[in-house]
C-alpha cells in the first residue's frame, strides 16, 4: 500500500466505524473491498494489518453494540474473510478471538443485524473467502457455522440462499482436498467429518418430502459436479445415486428442473465414468418420467453430450420430437405414420400436454422449436436428421396459426383453435423454418415452404415482428434454393416465386407501420447484395415498382426507415438497379442524382441513423469505385469529409475517418502486414507518386479533417484518427524527397493552430496545407503517446485507490474542504 493511502486509511476507518456518518454509496465499499483483495493477493495480509492497526480496530469496533449500518457490518465481515484467507493472518485474527466473535454465535448471527439480508450475505461471503486452508475448516466446525449455512439454504433472500449452497460446495471440496498427508480415501465412510456432515445433510434433504429441501440438495450437488472433478465426486455420486433415482418414483417428480440440471452436470463431469455409475439408466428413466416440457431440456442436454449411448440419444431425440409428431398426427389427413415418429411414440401424454390449455401448448411448442433450432447446427446432432417431417411440421404449425390448414381430426381442430393467431408460435416456427434451410428437402415440401412464407408475407394480419421473421426465413430459403447447373442465377422456380414476392414487397414498402417498411427494405438490401448481379433477379426487380418506392422512402418520416432506404438505395445503385425518378406523374421529384440526394440527407437530416447509413454507403461506393464516385473522386471525398466533419454524431465522424482511410489506401496502397514475422523490406516509396498522392490528400482536406478528429471529444473518433495518421506517417517515413526542416514558418503556424485545437478552440481552419508541412507536423507529433493515452480508459486517473479513499472521505466531509461552507 502506498504511503498516501496508508495516511488516509485511519480517517476512513473512523468514518466507517462511526454510525453517525452513514455511507450512502455502497459501490465505494465494493471498490474498497476489491482494492483490499488486490493488495492481499499481491502481498501478506498479516503485514498489512500490522502496518495498519486501524483495520483491526475497525473490525473490533463493529462488534460493539451500536447502531452501525448493515452495509458496513457486511463489508467488515467480507473484509475479515479476505484477510483471513491467508493462514498466518487467520491465526493472527484467531488470537484476538476476532473471528469467533464475528462469525460465531456471539457475533451478528445472534443479533438484530442478522435480519438484514446484506449482513447474512456478508457473513457467507466472508466465510467463503476465509475457507481456504485446513485451519479454517476446524474453525468452521468449532463455531457451528455449517449448521447455520444449512439453514441459510432456505433463506428468504435468493442471493443469500444461493450463496449458502455455493459455500457448502466450497467447504465440501476444501475438506475433501484433505490434509497435507495425501488424498482422502475413496471410501465415503472414511471421509473427513465435515464432508460427512454435509453429505449426510444432502442425503437427508433428498429423502425429505418437502420440494424446497430437495431442490436445495440437488442444486448443491449440481454445483459440486460442475466444479469438482476429483475422483471423490464419483464416490459421492455412487453413494447418492439411489436417492436421486428414488425421486423418479414420486409422482409428480419433485424439483424436476433441478434434477435435470443435476443429471446433466453429472453427465458432463469429466471426473465421472458415466457407464459405471448407472447414469445412462437414470437418464433414460428420467426422460420417461418427466412431463414433456421438463423432459425437453434434458433431451437437448443429452443430445449435446459428446459420448452417449445411441439408444439414449434416440430416446432423447424422440422426446424432443414428440410435440411436433403430435402436431403432425393431429393434422394428418389420413391414418399412417407422420414420418417423424411412429404413431405410438406421439403418445397421449404429449397430446394431453398440448391440448388442454393454450399457454401449455404454446409454451411446449416454442420450447421444442427452440431446442431443435439449437440442435440443428451442432456436429453431434442426431443422424439421420428427419429434415422432411420437420419441414412438414414447421409448415403445418404455420398454417395452423393462420387458420389455413385443414385438420381432419378433432384434435387437429382443437389445436388449430389454440394456435390461431398466436404470434409466439409464429415467430418460433419461422425462426425454425429459416434454420431448416441449411438442409434441403423434397421439392414438394420446399414448394409448400415458399407457399406458406408467401402467405405470411401477404397476410394483413401478420404482426411486424412475424413479418420480419418471415422475410428473414424467406431470404434464407432463397439462399439455399438450387442453382441452375452451370449458371449462378436463380432457378426458374425461384424466379417464379420472386415474381410473386415482389408485388408483396411493394405493398409492404407502403405499409403504415414503419417496422414493416423497415423490414421490407432490409430484405431488399439483402437480396440485392446477393443476387444484384444476376440477370433473372435484375429483370424481375426492374420490372417492379420496388426501386422507385425505395427511392421515395428516402423521405420517410421515420428515421430508421430513411436509414434502411439509404442502405438499400446504395446497394441498388451499386448494382446499377436504380431507376431515374422521372416522369410526368412524379412532379415532385426532379431529375436529381442519388449522390446529391444522399449528400442532402447527410447534411440536413435531423436524425443520426440516416446520416450514418449515408456514410456507410459512401465508404462502400468509394471502395467499390462506384460510377458516381470515380468521375471525380477528389471532389466526392472532399465534399463528404467537409459535411461529415461538422456532424454532431460521433459515429458519422468516425465513419468519415473510415472513408478517409479507404481513400488513403487507394492513394498510397494498403497498410503493411501487421504480422510480426512478415518480412517487409524497407522499400522506399517512389517520391513522385507519393507527392502526388499527398497533394491529392491535401486537396480533399483530409488532414484538416483528421487533425480535428484527433482532438475529438469522443475517444473512438480520436483513436481512429490517430491510427490513420500513424499509418500515413508509416507510409511516408521512407520517403526522403519530402523531408523538410521542422522550423519552417508554415509548420510552426500549423503546430500553433493544432495546440489551440487541442485546447478546445477549433474555430480557426488550417487553410491550404502543403504535403511537406503536413509530414513535418506529423513527424513532430507524439502520435504513439497520444494513442497510449487514448487507450487508457477515460477514468484511469480517477480510478486510483487514493482517489477512491479521498472520494469516500469527501462525501462525509472529513477532508475539511467543505467546512468553510457551513456558515
Amino acid at each position: 500500500m502506498d504511503p498516501e493511502c496508508s495516511q488516509l486509511l485511519p480517517a476512513l476507518c473512523a468514518v466507517l466505524a462511526d454510525p453517525r456518518q452513514p455511507m450512502v454509496d455502497d459501490t465505494c465499499l465494493e471498490k474498497l473491498l476489491d482494492w483490499f483483495k488486490t493488495i492481499t493477493e499481491a502481498g501478506s495480509s498479516l503485514l498489512l494489518l500490522q502496518e495498519n492497526p486501524c483495520l483491526v480496530e475497525l473490525l473490533c469496533h463493529v462488534l460493539k453494540p451500536q447502531d452501525l449500518s448493515s452495509r458496513v457490518l457486511s463489508f467488515s465481515l467480507r473484509l475479515t474473510g479476505v484477510f483471513a484467507a491467508q493462514e498466518d493472518c487467520f491465526q493472527y485474527l484467531q488470537q484476538g478471538e476476532l473471528l469467533p466473535r464475528l462469525f460465531g454465535e456471539a457475533g451478528p448471527l445472534g443479533g438484530a443485524a442478522w435480519t438484514a439480508p446484506t449482513v447474512r450475505s456478508g457473513w457467507i461471503q466472508g466465510l467463503r473467502s476465509l475457507a481456504q486452508h485446513p485451519s479454517a475448516l476446524h474453525f468452521l466446525a468449532d463455531c457451528g457455522a455449517v449448521d447455520t449455512i444449512f439453514s441459510l439454504q432456505g433463506d428468504s433472500s435468493l442471493f443469500v440462499a444461493s450463496a449458502a449452497g455455493q459455500l457448502l460446495v466450497h467447504i465440501l471440496s476444501l475438506s475433501m482436498r484433505g490434509p497435507a498427508e495425501g488424498p482422502p480415501s475413496l471410501q465415503a465412510d472414511d471421509w473427513p467429518p465435515c464432508a460427512q456432515k454435509i453429505v449426510g445433510h444432502i442425503e437427508e434433504s433428498l429423502r425429505s418430502t418437502a420440494t424446497p429441501q430437495i431442490t436445495q440438495a440437488l442444486n448443491v450437488l449440481t454445483t459440486t459436479f460442475s466444479h469438482c472433478h476429483d475422483p471423490w465426486t464419483q464416490v459421492l455420486w455412487v453413494q447418492l445415486h439411489p436417492l436421486v433415482a428414488a425421486l423418479l418414483q414420486k409422482d409428480p417428480v419433485p424439483a424436476a428442473h433441478s434434477l435435470v440440471d443435476l443429471l446433466l452436470s453429472v453427465a458432463r463431469s469429466p471426473g465421472l465414468s458415466s457407464s459405471s455409475c448407472g447414469l445412462w439408466e437414470t437418464l433414460a428413466q428420467t426422460l420417461s418420467h418427466l412431463s414433456p416440457t421438463q423432459a425437453g431440456l434434458l433431451a437437448l442436454g443429452i443430445l449435446k453430450l459428446q459420448d452417449c449411448p445411441q439408444a439414449l440419444r434416440a430416446q432423447a431425440f424422440a422426446v424432443l420430437l414428440q410435440p411436433l409428431a403430435c402436431v403432425l398426427q393431429a393434422t394428418a389427413q389420413g391414418p399412417g405414420p407422420s414420418g417423424l415418429l411412429d404413431s405410438t411414440a406421439a403418445d397421449s401424454v404429449t397430446a394431453d400436454m398440448l391440448l388442454p390449455s393454450k399457454a401449455a401448448c404454446v409454451g411446449l411448442l416454442c420450447q421444442t422449436l427452440a431446442h431443435l433450432e439449437l440442435l440443428l447446427p451442432l456436429p453431434q446432432r442426431p443422424c439421420p436428421w428427419p429434415q422432411a417431417p420437420l419441414l412438414g411440421a414447421a409448415v403445418t404449425l404455420l398454417q395452423l396459426c393462420r387458420g389455413s390448414g385443414s385438420p381432419a381430426s378433432d384434435a387437429g381442430r382443437q389445436l388449430c383453435a389454440l394456435l390461431l393467431g398466436c404470434v409466439r408460435v409464429q415467430r418460433a416456427a419461422l425462426d425454425f423454418l429459416g434454420t431448416l434451410s441449411q438442409e434441403t428437402g423434397p421439392p414438394e415440401l420446399v414448394t409448400q415452404v415458399f407457399a406458406v412464407l408467401l402467405e405470411y408475407l401477404r397476410s394483413p394480419d401478420s404482426s411486424p415482428t412475424v413479418l420480419k421473421k418471415a422475410f428473414q426465413a424467406t431470404f434464407r430459403w432463397l439462399l439455399s434454393s438450387p442453382r441452375t447447373p452451370g449458371c449462378s442465377d436463380l432457378d426458374s422456380h425461384t424466379l417464379l416465386f420472386l415474381r410473386e414476392l415482389l408485388p408483396v414487397l411493394q405493398k409492404r414498402l407502403c405499409s403504415p407501420c414503419w417496422e414493416v417498411r423497415d423490414s421490407g427494405l432490409e430484405f431488399l438490401t439483402q437480396m440485392t447484395r446477393r443476387w444484384g448481379g444476376q440477370a433473372g433477379f435484375r429483370h424481375a426487380l426492374l420490372a417492379s415498382e420496388v426501386p422507385r418506392l425505395t427511392e421515395q422512402l428516402l423521405r420517410d418520416p421515420e428515421s430508421y426507415v430513411r436509414a434502411s432506404a439509404v442502405t438499400a438505395m446504395g446497394q441498388l445503385s451499386s448494382q446499377g438497379l436504380c431507376v431515374p425518378p422521372a416522369g410526368p406523374e412524379h412532379p415532385g421529384s426532379q431529375q436529381k442524382s442519388l449522390l446529391g440526394e444522399l449528400l442532402h440527407i447527410l447534411s440536413t437530416d435531423s436524425e443520426g441513423f440516416p446520416r450514418r447509413a449515408v456514410m456507410q454507403v459512401f465508404t462502400q461506393w468509394l471502395r467499390d469505385s462506384h460510377a458516381d464516385v470515380v468521375g471525380d473522386t477528389e471532389q466526392f471525398v472532399a465534399g463528404v469529409l467537409q459535411v461529415a466533419g461538422q456532424d454532431l454524431d460521433w459515429e458519422v465522424r468516425a465513419q468519415g475517418l473510415e472513408l478517409a482511410l479507404v481513400f488513403l489506401e487507394q492513394m498510397l496502397g494498403p497498410p503493411r502486414s501487421h504480422c510480426p514475422y512478415a518480412v517487409t523490406p524497407p522499400v522506399a516509396a517512389p517520391a513522385g507518386p507519393l507527392t502526388q498522392a499527398l497533394q491529392s490528400l491535401c486537396r480533399v482536406r483530409l488532414f484538416e479533417f483528421a487533425f480535428r478528429a484527433l482532438f475529438d471529444c469522443d475517444r473512438p473518433v480520436a483513436q481512429k484518427s490517430c491510427d490513420l495518421l500513424l499509418l500515413l506517417r508509416a507510409k511516408t517515413a521512407s520517403s526522403s524527397s519530402l523531408q523538410e526542416p521542422r522550423s519552417s514558418p508554415d509548420v510552426a503556424s500549423v503546430e500553433a493552430a493544432l495546440q489551440r485545437w487541442r485546447a478546445g478552440d477549433q474555430a480557426q481552419p488550417l487553410g491550404d496545407l502543403e504535403p511537406e508541412v503536413v509530414l513535418a507536423v506529423l513527424r513532430s507529433m507524439d502520435l504513439e503517446g497520444l494513442r497510449g493515452a487514448l487507450a487508457e480508459s477515460s477514468d484511469h486517473v480517477e480510478k486510483s485507490p487514493q482517489s477512491l479513499l479521498q472520494d469516500m472521505l469527501a462525501t462525509v466531509g472529513i477532508l475539511g474542504e467543505n467546512e468553510a461552507d457551513c456558515y
Binding site: C416, A417, L420, S462, C510, P512, L549, E585
Partner: protein, 634 residues
C-alpha cells in the same frame, strides 16, 4: 319488432344505373333461353357470362308472411343500417305503432335513405322488369337469378315523402333511458360501440330480463364504447349482427387499405373506395389523416362524393355526447372531434354532392374518391367504375362487408383496374363474443343458426362459432322460438291506506304475515291493491242491486292457520282428553294418528290435516279444536 333492415343484395342482380349514358351497358346483348326463345331479351342482359335484370333495382323486404305487421306495437332500432326498410313497414302495412331509436341513428339513417333515394331517382329508368319473376320462368334462368328468393315481394325504392313520413313515427331516446311499454315491459337502449348512436336494447319486466345485442363492437373506434355491465343478469341474450368477415382483422385491413392506396397513387393511379356516407369512412379518413404525410401523399386530393357528404361530415362533429371519450374531450378544448375537419380546411379532403358541378372543375388525378353505393349498382361510383375500369394503374378498394365484391364487380367485367378486398367490419368476432358472454353470463343465449357452426367453407375452424354453456339456442328463417323462461311473478302495488290498515304478525323471526282484503285493480299491465269499498248503504232497490253486482261480497273470512303439530304432544293432549288406544304411524308425508277405539283417523301432513271419522260431527269438532290449539291463527 327488433330492427328492420333492408336486404340490398337483391340489387346485385340488376344492371348498374349509369349517371351518364354508357354505351357499353346499353349495348349489352339480351339474354335468351336455351331453346332460343328471346322473349326475355328486353328484361335480361348478358355481361361476361352473367345475366342481369335491366330494370330499376329492387330490394328484398323483411318477412311479411309470418306476422301481420299492423299488429306490431313497437319497433326497436339498433343502428342506422338496421332501419333501411322502415318506410316499407310504416307506410304500407297498416303499422300504427311507435319506433324507438337514438338521435344519431335517426339523423344518419335519414342520410343513408336520402342518398339511396337520390341515387335511384336521379337516373329515372322507364323500364320495369317483371316477366322474369314469374316462377315458371325464373326456374329456367341461370344462377344466381334462379335461386333468388321471394322475388315477387321485391320492391322498388321508396320515395323521400315516404322516408319523411316513416321517420316522423320515430320517438327519440337516449342511452340508459327507461321507456315503459304499456306497463308490460321497460326497454332501455345501451351503447353498442359500433356506430354513432348504435344501441343494444334491454327489455325487462320486474322479474325477467332479455338483452338484445345487435351490431356491437369492442374496438376503439369513434363511437361511445359498448356498455357491457348493463347486460349482466340477463335471462336471455339475443345475439345477432356479428362481424360478417370473422377472419379479417380490422386493424390488418386498415393497414392493407393504406398500403394499397399508397401503392396505387405512387404509381400514378387513382383509388376508388365504394362506401356508405357514414360509419367506417370516418375511421378511414382518420387513419389517412395520420398516414398521408408519412406516406408522402400530402399532395394527393381526397374526394368524398355523396348527396349527403356535407351533412354526414358535419353531423359527425356535432354528436359529441355519442362519441368515444377521446373525441368528447376534444370538444371541450374546443377542437373538432374528428380530424377530417382539418383535412377539409387544408383542402386535402373535398366533398361534393355529385360529380356534376364543382367537382368536374376541381377534379385532379391521381386522386382518391370515396363514393357510394358499395353495391356498385347505383350512385356516382358507377361512373368512376366505367371511367377508371380500363386502366390497370387504378384500384378499387372494397371496405364495406355487405356485398360480395366479386358479384359487385360482375357487370363491369372485363376489368383492367386492380381490385382489393379489405372488408372492415368492426362488429364482434367470435373471440370477442366468447369474452363478452363470460363477462355478462346470461342464462341463455339465442342466436341465428349460422353462428352455432363453423362456416361451411372452413369446417375445421371451431373458433368461428359461438361456444358457450349452455349451448346457444339457435333459430332459422321463419322459425318460431319459445324463449326459455316463464313469467312466474308479477309485482303488485299496494295503496298506502290499505298498507296502513295491515296488522302483520310475526310467525318466525323476521317473517311477518298479514291478511289482506282488497280489490286487485289491473290496468295497462299494472296491478294495484286498493282498499275494498265500504259496504254501500242500502238506499234503493235497483241501485243496491247494481252495487252488489259491481263489488264482490266481502264475506267474513275464516282465520288462516300456520305452524306445525308436534305429534307426541298432540298424542299426550288426546290422552288427557280421554282418548285411549292411540297409535301413531309414520307416513311418507307425515303421520297418521289412529284412534282405534273411536274408529277415527287423523292424517297430519305438512300442509294439511284431515280428520276422518264416521259421521260423528261432534267428535270431529272436538278433535279439530284440539288440533287448532297447536296452530297460530291470524
Amino acid at each position: 319488432m327488433l330492427d328492420c333492415g333492408l336486404d340490398m343484395t337483391s340489387t346485385l342482380n340488376f344492371l348498374p344505373l349509369p349517371l351518364v349514358q354508357s354505351p357499353r351497358l346499353s349495348n349489352l346483348p339480351g339474354w335468351s333461353l336455351k331453346d332460343g326463345s328471346a322473349f326475355l331479351d328486353k328484361e335480361l342482359k348478358e355481361c361476361s357470362g352473367h345475366v342481369f335484370v335491366d330494370s330499376v333495382p329492387e330490394f328484398c323486404l323483411p318477412e311479411t308472411e309470418l306476422i301481420d305487421l299492423s299488429t306490431v306495437d313497437v319497433i326497436l332500432i339498433s343502428n342506422y343500417h338496421c332501419m333501411m326498410a322502415l318506410p316499407y313497414i310504416t307506410e304500407h302495412t297498416g303499422f300504427t305503432g311507435t319506433v324507438y331509436a337514438t338521435e344519431p341513428t335517426v339523423q344518419i339513417g335519414r342520410l343513408l335513405m336520402e342518398e339511396l333515394v337520390n341515387f335511384i331517382e336521379r337516373v329515372p329508368k322507364a323500364q320495369s322488369a317483371s316477366l322474369w319473376k314469374n316462377k315458371d320462368i325464373q326456374r329456367l334462368l341461370p344462377s344466381p337469378l334462379k335461386d333468388a328468393v321471394e322475388v315477387s315481394t321485391w320492391r322498388r325504392c321508396y320515395t323521400m315523402q315516404e322516408v319523411n313520413s316513416a321517420l316522423s313515427k320515430i320517438q327519440l331516446v337516449g342511452y340508459s333511458q327507461k321507456i315503459e311499454l304499456f306497463g308490460a315491459v321497460q326497454v332501455t337502449p345501451l351503447s353498442s360501440g359500433y356506430a354513432l348512436g348504435s344501441s343494444n336494447w334491454i327489455i325487462q319486466s320486474h322479474y325477467e330480463k332479455v338483452s338484445y345485442v345487435s351490431g356491437s363492437s369492442l374496438l376503439t373506434t369513434h363511437p361511445q364504447p359498448m356498455d357491457q355491465a348493463s347486460l349482466k343478469n340477463s335471462d336471455v341474450l339475443i345475439l345477432t349482427g356479428l362481424t360478417q368477415i370473422p377472419t379479417a382483422n380490422p386493424d390488418g385491413m386498415v393497414g392493407e387499405f393504406c398500403s394499397n392506396l399508397a401503392l396505387t397513387v405512387r404509381n400514378g393511379g387513382n383509388v376508388l373506395v365504394p362506401c356508405y356516407p357514414s360509419g367506417v369512412i370516418y375511421d378511414l379518413l382518420e387513419c389517412l389523416y395520420q398516414y398521408i404525410d408519412s406516406a408522402g401523399l400530402s399532395n394527393i386530393p381526397f374526394y368524398f362524393i355523396s348527396p349527403v357528404a356535407n351533412s354526414s361530415l358535419e353531423f359527425s362533429q356535432i354528436f359529441a355526447e355519442w362519441l368515444c371519450h377521446n373525441k368528447q374531450t376534444k370538444v371541450y378544448l374546443p377542437e373538432p372531434p374528428f380530424p377530417h375537419a382539418e383535412l377539409i380546411q387544408t383542402n386535402k379532403l373535398k366533398h361534393y354532392p355529385s360529380l356534376h358541378g364543382d367537382f368536374s372543375s376541381d377534379f385532379r388525378q391521381p386522386c382518391v374518391v370515396f363514393t357510394g353505393h358499395p353495391s356498385l349498382r347505383f350512385g356516382d361510383v358507377v361512373h368512376f367504375m366505367e371511367l377508371w375500369g380500363k386502366s390497370s394503374l387504378n384500384t378499387v378498394i372494397f371496405t364495406e362487408p355487405d356485398f360480395s365484391y366479386l358479384e359487385a364487380l360482375a357487370p363491369y367485367q372485363p376489368l383492367a383496374m386492380k381490385c382489393i378486398y379489405c372488408p372492415i367490419d368492426t362488429r364482434l368476432n367470435f373471440i370477442q363474443v366468447s369474452k363478452l358472454l363470460k363477462e355478462v353470463q346470461p342464462l341463455h343465449v339465442v342466436c341465428p343458426e349460422q353462428y352455432t357452426q363453423p362456416p361451411p367453407a372452413q369446417s375445421h375452424r371451431m373458433d368461428l362459432m359461438i361456444d358457450c354453456q349452455p349451448p346457444a339456442m339457435s333459430y332459422r328463417r321463419a322459425e318460431v322460438l319459445a324463449l326459455p323462461f316463464k313469467r312466474r311473478y308479477e309485482k303488485i302495488e299496494i295503496m298506502p291506506e290499505l298498507a296502513d290498515a295491515l296488522v302483520p304478525m310475526e310467525i318466525k323471526p323476521g317473517i311477518s304475515l298479514a291478511t289482506v282484503s282488497a280489490v286487485l285493480h289491473t290496468k295497462d299491465n299494472k296491478h294495484v291493491l286498493q282498499p275494498p269499498p265500504r259496504p254501500a248503504q242500502p238506499s234503493g232497490g235497483k241501485k243496491r242491486k247494481r252495487a252488489s253486482e259491481d263489488i264482490p261480497d266481502c264475506k267474513v273470512l275464516k282465520p288462516l292457520l300456520s305452524g306445525s303439530i308436534p305429534v307426541e304432544q298432540f298424542v299426550q293432549t288426546l290422552e288427557k282428553h280421554g282418548f285411549s288406544d292411540i297409535k301413531v304411524e309414520d307416513t311418507a308425508k307425515g303421520h297418521i294418528v289412529l284412534l282405534q277405539e273411536a274408529e277415527t283417523l287423523i292424517q297430519i301432513e305438512e300442509d294439511s290435516t284431515h280428520i276422518i271419522c264416521d259421521n260423528d260431527e261432534m267428535l270431529r269438532v272436538r278433535l279439530r279444536d284440539l288440533v287448532l290449539k297447536f296452530l297460530q291463527k291470524f
